[in-house]
Assembly symmetry: C2
Homo-oligomer: 149 residues x 2
């Protein structure tokens, strides 16, 4: 029950309870499309790796660019990864978080790479980042926090 | 070389190159202390789990609260996890990302739990979240992006 009864605080005041509601897949992708960057979560040398990247959505496929010989390309090639984004206002404590879990793979097909080039995705980070990586969504989960502050 | 030569764009204009610079541990913790929430990255059922939490720093130990019987408590108990936070301005494409990797453990010692209670950490999410989880930093990494936009 996300919206439980309000509990009195130490001053005896009753604040409205905060809520945490699940988002369906459609809402998750609508919200994802509103932010320009998220975080790729992968494993590197048995340790978690979390790297922010700017991205775009190609239908429901997350696409980002990276360096062909970099650690992010190595950690995502054929791997199950997560892509997470959120937008939470610390003042109202209201906002959302979405995570897409799926298999990541670099685009190697030439015509598909050409098509990716039309997405208008320019990497924010410096250096040659000409490899497009796609994360095809398997699991999608999202939650919306409504604050009590 | 983070600050490479500027390349002409498709209009022949030369923009200043963006930069990505490594942050030392001190800078990482100073920046972490400026944000109220970050993301716990763990593994659950062999899949990556990414959950935003509000947190505080107890010296260099990341502390957050969760439900004793929840998925976050289960996924972090004695596990190597990452805690990541960032603050990146999408307009200037300037900002930072910090990731702390270390072993997470719930606080079970009563006097330590009492001390945690003095940190003023109130969970944003609803429900009973009376377990304090500590992530003792092993690896710390951070990067500062200076945009070219």
């Amino acid at each position: 029950m996300p919206n439980g009864p309000a509990a009195p605080d130490s001053n005896g005041m009753t604040a409205p309870a905060s809520r945490l509601d699940a988002l369906d897949d459609q809402a998750c992708f609508l919200l994802l499309a509103t932010v320009p960057f998220g975080r790729v979560v992968a494993t590197s040398g048995a340790l978690p790796l979390v790297i922010p990247v700017n991205f775009t959505l190609d239908n429901r496929v997350v696409v980002f660019r990276t360096a062909a010989d970099g650690p992010l390309a190595a950690a995502t090639r054929g791997a199950v990864v997560a892509f997470q984004a959120d937008d939470i206002d610390p003042v109202t404590r209201t906002g959302w978080s979405v995570a897409v879990t799926g298999v990541a793979d670099p685009v190697v097909d030439a015509s598909e790479a050409l098509r990716m080039g039309q997405l208008g995705l320019e990497p924010w980070a410096p250096g040659q980042r000409d490899t497009y990586v796609r994360i095809v969504p398997g699991l999608v989960s999202g939650r919306y926090l409504t604050g009590s502050a």
